[in-house]
Amino acid sequence: MSYLELLKLASPEAVVVVTALVVLTVGLAKSNSATICSVLAATGLAIAAGAVLMLPAHANLFGGMLIISPLNSLFKMICLGLAFVTVPLMPSEKSLRNPGEYLAMLLLATVGLLLLVGSEELLMIFIGLELLGLSLYVMAAFDKTDVRSAEAGLKYFLFGSTASAFTLFGISLVYGMSGSTALASVAQKLSSGSVPPVLAAGIVMTLIGFAFKIAAAPFHLWAPDAYQGAPIPSAAFIASGSKVASFVVLGKIVLVGFGPLVGSSAWHAMMAGWSPVLAALSALSILLGNFVALAQTNVRRLLAYSAVAHGGYTLVGIVAGGREGFSATLFYTTIYAITLVGAFAVVGMVKSETGGDDLQNFAGLGSRSPLAAACMSIFMLSLAGLPPLAGFFGKFYLFSVAFQAGGNHGLLWLVIVALFGSFVSLYYYLIVLRAIFVDKESVPDTRHTSHFVATATMAVLAAAVLLLGVMPQALVARVIASLP
């Protein structure tokens, strides 16, 4: 294989890396370069998306290190799209100095996403995780004027590096038991069916790393501070792009790599394997996330705990397993990411207008800025799972798949937990909407004009959530078609 051919197949990643370097250079050379750097970054991401479209339908390099398949290409597009809509959120953070460096970090994190999504080999996945993680640590701590941002970065870093260590150790155990790092051959080697204790430890440790990435309880402790303290675009990206890619990879690892070791999480018939671990994580996340979110007064913290809960819902699909389960997970995590970037766009707008992001800062948003209020209600109600928004269909798909899975509706208990959690969650989403529409304005209106591009992004995302709710077919059919 020539380098030229390799470059062709890795062109999306290459384009994003080059863009990152260009943006970095421009940011260094030119002071006050926010606008031009944003435009450059957005252009680079668009070109990369074009490059994804040019890729062949199937290719497999170096034993799974770089795999091109319809699924991977689809999620490369989605990750690039999420990065693309994160870029316009930057102006809402007035205090961010060095926008060039910031955007370069964002782009490098995007490369991490692309590597994660595009690989089916454990080492490469680990490298992608680390590239993503290191970039995100920097992005979380980027606001040097805010002590909260430093706290966010530090917590994220400490938890993240510990989790990485676990993952790496887990991978090494899996490698020791199977003699391979490519998911397909791992699956072959492990197909004997029984789970020796060392392998069980390896599986659990590998999963811990991902549980951290998707903020599943009890590995969620970094999330509230990171969501609250990090600059808005960083938080949005941590909540969206990073999560989508992690779910794609997690699904591949457990469904492809550990496929033969599924075990059972059905009630009373728990059997060793990855499935009971994920089922427990899922149920715990749903309950803990939703109940703790009830008590929050800061919207970003509230979103963080709700993210824990949504991580739990999304895991339900993976626990259910199979093609259907995976496609439900992928659909749900995608619409969740879109919704959350939008919600952070609104939070960013409120923060730049009122100087804070507590519930009381949202008071009177309905009369102050009807568009933002309408968008926020679309995002919140979609998260709560109300029609005709994307979250409603997403939950329906997930839960019906879980109900179907296993013999004799063994996952019914998990469906009931998830439905109960979703019932609890409506309360706190309504609290946000009550602040927006019912409460009278208590914060003096400082009247910053909000940035046009950020507003437009927010509106586009809200429209997307609404459209995917009315016509989920547009995404579902693609996801299903891309799964082998």
């Binding site: 109900f403 469906v415 409506l426 309504l430 529409f437 077919q473």
Partner: protein, 483 residues
Amino acid sequence: MIAWTIYLTFAGAVVLLFLPRPFAKWIALATTIAGFAISLAIFFRPDVDLVHFTTIVRIPWIPALGMNYQLALDGISLTLILVTGLAAISAVLFSWDVNERANEFFFWLLLVVGGSYGVFLSADLFLLFLFYELVIVPKYFLIAIFGSTNKEYGAMKLTLYSFFGGALVFLGIIAIYVSGGSFDLNQLSQFQFSPQLQGWVFPVLFLGFAVLAGIWPLHTWAPTGHVAAPTAGSMLLAGIVMKLGAYAALRVAMNLLPQGFQTWRNSFAVFAVIGIVYAAAVALRQQDLKFVIGYSSVSHMGFVLLGLATANVFGVSGAVLQMFSHGVIGALLFAVAGTMIYRRTHTRDLDALAAMNLRRALPFAAFTFVVASAASMGIPGFSGFAAEITILIGAWKTYPLAVWIVGAGMVLVAAFTLRALKRSFFDVDSASANAEPPQLEPITISEKIGAGLLMFATLAVGLYPRILLDRIQPAVEALRFFK
């Protein structure tokens, strides 16, 4: 053509959001009148098949999971669409004085109406559930923004109860979909679900829907919600929203899972009877006029549930007729209490009202309240009588004991209604009998039209119930569990 009730209502909701404030109420009025006119036109057309649940629209929607955009119509749904239109028009007329944030108000109001049309017309289970859940949030905003007494609490309670019911329904629908492999209600009604599945899915589904119909002991959202809501909100709640639950319980739970229904119907009949008597007894002790009416709604909806539980043609037809009747009467009662009295006197406390000599200050309101009370008590000649007698005939065949208990309960209904009537308008014994009536704003034209419309409806159906029963009964007979 009937599908246009849905489209027009949603279109009206969106349009009025972008028009200047003075247009809002006119658009809302035009939209609701159009919806009602369409349903009336269908009602009087002889060539429409109202016996079977006839599909009128079917478009593939999410083929990957087998969902269709499918609407259908029969006599049961048409009856409920009629009452939706009636309640919607009068709710708009009784909101004529809403000026603050009027666009928003009528937007939420039309969403409730449009979603309800959608539920009554859906022939696809997923679509039905979508419309059903769509109604939840507009109710929250209608009450939390525009309501009165304890509005945020009442709104949240009502919303959470609805959503709790929704979660049960969600589970039931998933179970039906996974086992039946389809969302098409007509197709599913041919499908034999396993008895074991029916045994647990039916109560989950029925209870989930019945929360919205105010089944005892999950009824407590109704009085608080009604009291907190603005007049139009209570009118829609009593007139339409409570019917969504009862209708869906009939159309989905009972029609798809007949064996589960047979197993559980006795328990639900007990719940219904307790609800009728208990709510009437509680209403007797209330000081707030709206609480009296709120509990009376629970009591009247108990009749609907009892009628459904009888599982014979009389009982079920009577239940559907009672849904219509209570929709009209409940809306009328709340209109009197909320707009005619409360907006003028700023109190709903029965003692305070007794001291006001309202009979002379607001003679039209007194007249309306007398008519509404008579209808509510079940005086012959009003729709309430026709409906309740049909239900009781049905119940006599299956639950003779229940008829005796409910008969005693009806005395309580008469007692609390007469008490409320006397205290609010006719308290001649009090010292204020000869006092000068307070100077109150006279009843407006729009209020008179709205009240007149509802009074006409209850009288017309009361005097000639067959106009509805002739369309309801064949449709009920065509349901699965009568075959």
